[in-house]
Amino acid sequence: MTASSLRTRDVSFQIDRKFLRGQQFATLLFFHLHRPGFRERISHALGHAAITVARSIKGLDGSMFGERLSHGLLGGMSQDRIRVLGEEYARRILAPALCDGDCEAWRALRAAGWRIRLVSGYLEEVVSALCATRGLQVDELVCNRLEYREHVATGRLLAPLVTTPSETWQSKGGHWIGIRNLEGDI
């Protein structure tokens, strides 16, 4: 796909291939395993694993309730820690896996004047850090946002929730490009 083949001004990028599930499990597990207390690390990681299994059994994957349930365990974690862990996860795990070709296409589109929307089920802290790490400029970020009170996460996700790719981008219009996580070109 080239920039000239697109007909409207907006382009939506998706960076998660299967749109969450496996990856989101790993991301949230990473956050829980890096909580400040050793006991918290173990208990929250086990809790997260239990919720993930329960979600699969009950068929809650991709549902809003399932999303809220998974992120609920992040409650009590400081905003500062979530920001740092998001940066760390993006730098160490996601950024090396993004294809250079995809990033080039992204930059080319933006240079050609396209408005880029990034859609992701990851947390905002992870996605914005990923963009910063790879030097990708975004006009609109559509991703999951946690609610904070006095710099501490309440465990609630702010609306709108990003659950499946189709719901999110179809209502926004424009072209849809999925970065195929991470192998091959667009």
Binding site: H34, P36, G37, S78, Q79, D80, R81, R83, V84, E88, H151
Partner: protein, 549 residues
């Protein structure tokens, strides 16, 4: 029409601001300034800001103590070697530095002497010329020998005030500390209190007399021949082989001097604690304020910064110097320490040095224009408070980032980076004192019952025992640091009002004091802690960090 010095507290739309905005550059135009303590951390940054950003000032006279080097040589070293002025050179080039040099004058002097120790011929000239005296000199040591604290922090400012009163048109800007309020909780007003922090009536003059009487008594007791004889006998009893009697007396004199210093430090600390101050530094600074306010015919501003820390942007991000503010405790959080006891909802008032320099510029300009208040507090707790718990968390995260990216070994990169110090509000069941006693005990056990049982293993067991001793000493040091910083970490929360600075509308945006703009996350992770590592701890692993200069 603007009315000089007229506050509009009753006029809600202006929020109690002064009617006429303050132009820093206009206020300093052609004004001659005398500065004491310019070689300190705050002094250098403020001086660089003044000389670089306010090009139309008159001469700036720096009072510098001459020892091995003359005042002029010290000034040259300050301009050539300090990273602050190297940054100015990098920005403006040689021509800018030359303009700065042309305005600077070095004066041989000492603030702890009458007439600031300045030669008479220079004194007369200065008395006619000086418009503003900025007293930044002081001893920033929490529990020093009380004689040194009194000379630098109490007598020094009084000599400066005497000099200011002898000048034709000079005014005094005295830099104190916000912690003169002692252990008093709640909101701290911008006023010089008449009571001590423990709410006892306090006459500063009588207190100074008591202090100097106590010092004299201690000195007499120490130099008493009987005391020296007792020390000699003590040395003999302990089996110290000092050669002849004269040599023993010499050793006893040295020992007496060191004991005198320790007792002087204790004297100041105990007196400060009994009156409600945390340490000798804040006690001596508070006495100076009270004595200055009582001086007649003195146009005075007292400037009180809180905990002055690394720069956000000026002279460059992360610049810091010295290691006696939050440095030791923050360094501690990057080690194997896990739990730091803190007070619930306790706020720590950190303020970057460039914000302090801006505040100083505003207070000085207001004083020059006659729009000033008596006390200017300069901190962040009023507009943008950071709780101690968040500060500990941010420090731990900054260390985490550092060890991950720059750890020297696998242990540092993989384990220490994930160790994460935490702020705890409840007292741990197994605290540092327990660890110290345990390590001490293990060392003792190895030496006494274990060593004689295994004579063949003597060298290795002795080595293990010594390691436990070293560990116990390290833990004792950590305990001492935590004790020094206890007033900043524990107890009820204190907020330092900064209304005086907020009242002035400063025309030039680069001089505006706006602590609400500090992003603590970015500041701690990208400026303060990398800056501490680079400039104070001199950590070689941090050579490639984000802080520049």
């Amino acid at each position: 029409m603007a009315i000089q010095g007229w506050t509009l507290d009753w006029y809600p739309q202006l929020g109690g601001r002064y009617l006429n905005p303050l132009s820093i550059r206009e206020s300093f135009r052609q004004r001659n300034i005398l500065v004491t303590g310019a070689s300190g951390f705050v002094g250098k940054v403020w001086l660089a800001m003044l000389l670089e950003s306010v090009p139309d000032t008159g001469h700036v006279y720096l009072v510098l103590r001459s020892g091995k080097r003359s005042a002029q040589q010290r000034l040259d070293a300050l301009l050539d070697d300090s990273p602050v002025f190297r940054a100015v050179l990098a920005r403006g080039g040689q021509s800018a530095m030359q303009r700065i040099r042309n305005r600077l004058r070095a004066i041989n002097g000492d603030v702890s002497k009458p007439n600031l120790g300045i030669a008479d011929d220079q004194l007369e000239l200065l008395r006619k010329q000086i418009d503003l005296v900025v007293n930044l000199a002081g001893l920033v040591d929490f529990d020093p020998d009380v004689r040194e604290a009194a000379a630098a922090n109490v007598v020094g400012p009084l000599f400066v005030a005497d000099f200011v009163r002898s000048c034709r048109q000079a005014r005094l800007l005295h830099v104190s500390t916000a912690f003169v309020s002692g252990k008093r909780p709640g909101r701290i007003r911008e006023a010089v209190e008449t009571l001590s922090p423990g709410d006892h009536p306090l006459d500063a003059k009588a207190e100074c007399n008591w202090l100097y009487d106590s010092i004299e008594r201690e000195e007499k007791r120490s130099s008493d021949p009987n005391t020296l004889d007792e020390l000699c006998q003590e040395l003999q009893r302990r089996g110290h082989d000092c050669g002849n009697c004269q040599r023993r007396r010499c050793v006893a004199t040295t020992l007496a001097a060191s004991r005198l210093r320790a007792s002087m430090s204790r004297l100041g600390h105990d007196r400060a604690q009994s009156l409600g101050w945390a340490n000798t530094y804040t006690y001596s600074k508070s006495l100076a304020e009270r004595l200055l306010v009582a001086q007649p015919d003195l146009q005075l501003v007292i400037f009180r910064p809180t905990i002055v820390e690394s720069a956000v942007s000026y002279p460059f991000a992360g610049w810091n110097e010295g290691f006696n503010t939050s440095g030791p405790i923050i360094q501690l959080l990057g080690t194997w320490i896990r739990r730091v006891p803190v007070g619930t909802n306790k706020i720590i008032d950190l303020i970057p040095v460039d914000y302090v320099a801006r505040g100083l510029m505003t207070a000085a300009a207001a004083l020059l224009c006659g729009q000033h208040e008596l006390v200017y507090q300069c901190g962040s707790s009023d507009a943008n408070p950071i709780p101690v718990t968040r500060c500990v968390e941010l420090s731990a995260l900054a260390h985490r980032k550092h060890w991950q990216l720059r750890g020297r070994s696998w242990l540092e990169r993989q384990v220490l980076s994930r160790w994460d110090a935490r702020a705890v509000t409840d007292k741990p069941r197994f605290g540092l004192s327990h660890w110290r006693r345990l390590t001490n005990g293990i060392g003792e056990v190895i030496r006494n019952p274990v060593l004689p049982l295994f004579p063949a293993r003597w060298p290795s067991l002795e080595k293990v025992g010594r390691r436990f001793d070293v560990m116990a000493r390290k833990i004792a040091r950590i305990e001492a640091i935590l004790q020094i910083y206890e007033p900043f970490l524990m107890g009820a929360s204190t907020v330092y009002e900064c209304k005086s600075l907020a009242r002035h509308s400063v025309l030039e945006s680069e001089f505006r004091f706006e602590p609400q703009q500090i992003d603590w996350h970015g500041y701690m992770l990208d400026c303060h802690i990398p800056g501490l590592r680079k400039w104070c701890i001199h950590d070689s692993t941090d050579a490639a960090s984000s802080v520049t200069g």
